[in-house]
């Protein structure tokens, strides 16, 4: 017998509802906690959403945040944050920092004169400094981008819900949308908790998480639909467990390959897209969890109309042909 790597035994019989109040309850608590976290701590918006300018600096000599700050203070730029960026992919003499200047009242973008002043001030501190990227977004555009981002996530969830409704039953659609909302809210909550930079690429990651999580959910629902037709009398709860166990191997397998690819990206992909990849990595894990523990629970709670449909098909309307 040839070797097979199996993360999940051939046949499993896990009762996914055994701890349902614990798992479902903790999902609700995490979701609420995430909302509270965003409400209290807020999000560390990047310039895309907040407006302002970020300047990436790179130098062969080490970054001294204090010196940079001293150099920029006389320019009276208002809200300035300076952070050092460290990354395992950097060369030994590659020292990167991020300077963020808040948007100023009534100004759409930093003027070229101000940029020159900033660059000159930093050059005075460290002559070897270069500016590999400068990004500046005006408050007008950043406001629109927030709106668009929120709208896109809502639209995507509703669009997916509508599709699931069309292909399955409304209970499945409710379960799917609820688990999607759970995934997105908890991911955003983590970004809030650790104050990770939240910008447009993170929204793209959220949308990808939606796509991944629904993919996972739909596969189980598809099998559930098949089983509903196959086992007419089996209780719904038992059938859901059967379905989840039947597809468990695939669920774990796909999550693992995706995580492998994402791990390669997060380690070797560089710091520019690390936030984006982190959001996806976290989202894949939470998406897999929510498929098993959120979407199904909701469908179970709502119940599924069983047997009605085939019956309707089987018995023709009694008086259908009376006037014909």
């Amino acid at each position: 017998m040839a070797f097979r790597l199996k993360l999940v035994p051939t046949t499993t019989n896990i009762d996914f509802f055994r701890w349902q109040w614990l798992t479902f309850g903790s999902s609700i608590v995490t979701t609420l906690a995430s909302i509270a976290c965003v409400a209290i701590l807020g999000l560390n918006f990047g310039v895309d959403f907040k407006g302002g300018t970020t300047i990436r600096t790179e130098s062969t000599s080490p970054v001294d945040v204090g010196l940079y700050r001293q150099a920029l203070d006389p320019l009276a730029l208002g809200d300035v944050t300076i952070t050092e960026v460290t990354d395992p992919t950097f060369a030994a003499d590659q020292h990167v920092a991020q300077v963020r200047i808040g948007a100023r009242e009534g100004e759409e973008a930093v003027t070229p004169e101000v940029m020159l002043e900033v660059e000159a001030a930093l050059k005075a501190v460290d002559p070897a400094i270069t500016f590999p990227s400068v990004e500046s977004v005006g408050p007008k555009v950043s406001g629109e981008l927030i709106q668009k981002a929120v709208l896109s996530v809502i639209l995507a969830s509703l669009g997916i819900g509508a599709y699931v409704w069309l292909r399955f039953e409304w209970q499945f659609a409710v379960g799917t949308v609820a688990s999607l909302a759970h995934d997105v809210i908890v991911t955003v909550g983590v970004f809030s908790l650790f104050q990770l930079k939240f910008d447009l690429t993170i929204v793209a990651a959220l949308l990808t998480i939606l796509g991944y999580s629904v993919n996972d959910t739909v596969v189980i629902f598809d099998r559930l639909r098949e089983n509903l037709a196959k086992y007419k009398t089996m209780p719904l709860r038992e059938m859901m467990n059967l379905t989840a166990n039947e597809t468990l191997s695939r669920t774990v397998m796909t999550a693992t390959t995706t995580l492998i690819a994402l791990t390669a990206l997060i380690i070797f992909g560089g710091d520019v897209i690390r936030g984006f990849v982190f959001a996806m990595l976290f989202g894949v894990i939470i998406g897999t969890y929510s498929t098993l523990y959120v979407a199904k629970n909701i469908v179970l709670m709502l119940g599924v109309d069983r047997g009605d449909k085939p019956k309707k098909k089987a018995t023709p309307p009694e008086y259908a042909n009376i006037d014909a």
């Binding site: 070797f3 097979r4 790597l5 051939t10 790179e58 992919t89 759409e108 973008a109 070229p112 940029m115 270069t130 500016f131 590999p132 990227s133 400068v134 990004e135 500046s136 977004v137 005006g138 007008k140 555009v141 896109s152 995507a156 669009g159 997916i160 599709y163 699931v164 447009l200 690429t201 929204v203 793209a204 949308l207 990808t208 796509g211 991944y212 993919n215 739909v218 099998r223 098949e226 191997s249 695939r250 397998m253 796909t254 693992t256 390959t257 995706t258 492998i260 690819a261 994402l262 390669a264 990206l265 380690i267 070797f268 992909g269 560089g270 520019v272 897209i273 984006f276 990849v277 996806m280």
Partner: protein, 555 residues
Amino acid sequence: MTPTATWKRILILAICAWGLLAAMPNAFYSRVELHNDAVAAIDKADGIATPEQQAAKALWPSWLPSSIMPLGLDLRGGAHLLARVEVSDVYKARMEALWPEARDALRDRRDQVGAVRRAPSPDGTLRVTISNPEAMPVALEAVRTLATPVISLAGAGHNDIDIAADGADIVIQLSDAEKTATDDRTMQQSLEIIRNRVDQAGTREPTILRQGSDRILIEVPGIGSAAELKSLIGTTAKLTFNRVINSTTDAGANPGARNLLLPAKDQPGLYYIIEEVPVVTGEELVDAQPSFDQNGKPAVSFRFDGAGARKFGDYTAANIGTPFAIVLDNQVISAPVIQSHIPGGSGIITGSFTVEESTELAVLLRAGALPAGMEFLEERTIGPELGADSIAAGKLAAIIGMIAVVTYMVLSYGLFGWFANIALAANVLLIVAILSSIGATLTLPGIAGIVLTMGMAVDANVLIFERIREELRSGQPPGRAAESGFDRAFSAIFDSNVTGLLTALIMFWIGSGPVRGFAVTMTIGILTSLFTSVYVTRLVVEIWLNRRRPKTILV
């Protein structure tokens, strides 16, 4: 397994072969790029090639496909700008131009309307006071003769100006239909001029797009910084030649009615009082070239068109010995004294230019003046080194990710894992091939999209293989188990891909730049993975089963 129809087999193999061929140029990126640049340059020069261009062209055989994925700004470096065109500038200019006409029209009825005076009004409206308010109907009628029908599909049946009476005032402004039509013209002109200016600067593949009603997105790879790009396109470059009334050192001097007080560009503290209506404008220029004056200092020589040359000739003939001002963007560049009649319609602008300045000015003058000012809402600069770092990091991550996924698939499914890996390889080739041939830009999130697709693309195969395992366990013979594995997994594969496409499309809609690049690779990845993991794997499995006819299979 039921064998796939021959035409289907040929089609599947043909698509894969095309993928290999069309993806290949990307493996020789810099070579093909040089080749393409040379071909474009030779084309531009009507087939005349320099030896270097010949050599560059020979780097890549011309019978092979030569489309490569254009790299996005985040990978190549360059500048990105989002500008808002102040379309209402044009309304103001229109109203300014209307005032003399309205005055003349009312003057003809002076006996009835009395004295005519311009009253202060906000930009974009013209307010005229008449001293005999009772003659308002006559005045309105006189002004109405100035209105012309709007020339646009949506605005048909409307006049270009709205005229209303307000006490003793006549209030004139552009009608909504005319505003819409004007906005459209302003945007078209701005786009055209920006395109001209960026092209003159000679960078590769700039993107210049209109966004919404009054915005323009400009992406120029390879340019040093957004500030540089801004100075290239943001200058209005409005050139006029005006009569000089006087010069003064008093910044607060009153220029008098219909005159302007403008600073001299190179002499701080010196101001000129000039007549507001120009003698000739830059719009009447046909050519401008950087050159040198008699003293060997950088200058710009120019030539007027017929009408401009005539006006310039007449003016110089009549005003020998008086100074006239060359005004660029509300600064007097120079105010030479007219030495003689200049009949040919050509001349030279001298100032204390550097060679770069005179070159830039000539470019700006050739491309024409922007019809309205611009405000920059968003600007991004990415240095080429950062882009190169990102490419290197993305490549490394892609290669390692691919090796890891391939290994994992083989460990999990053995021979069938290899079948899935063949499909995976075909998938990556097809993504690259399609991106190259539609010219979709590759961005850093786009690379992430490809790596992620590798992880997710095997999902369809996983679904199929797990299904085959189940069928085998239920005692089906290999052929039938494989067959029903493919058939039964299809509905789940289809549903999950449709929802994936849905999110990718929404991402494309909201996203700009890099996010859009990610959405594009994801959309293409979903479509190609559907093809490769279902059809390609099926074909491979089928060929293997029908050749070997194994009694038992192990998935």
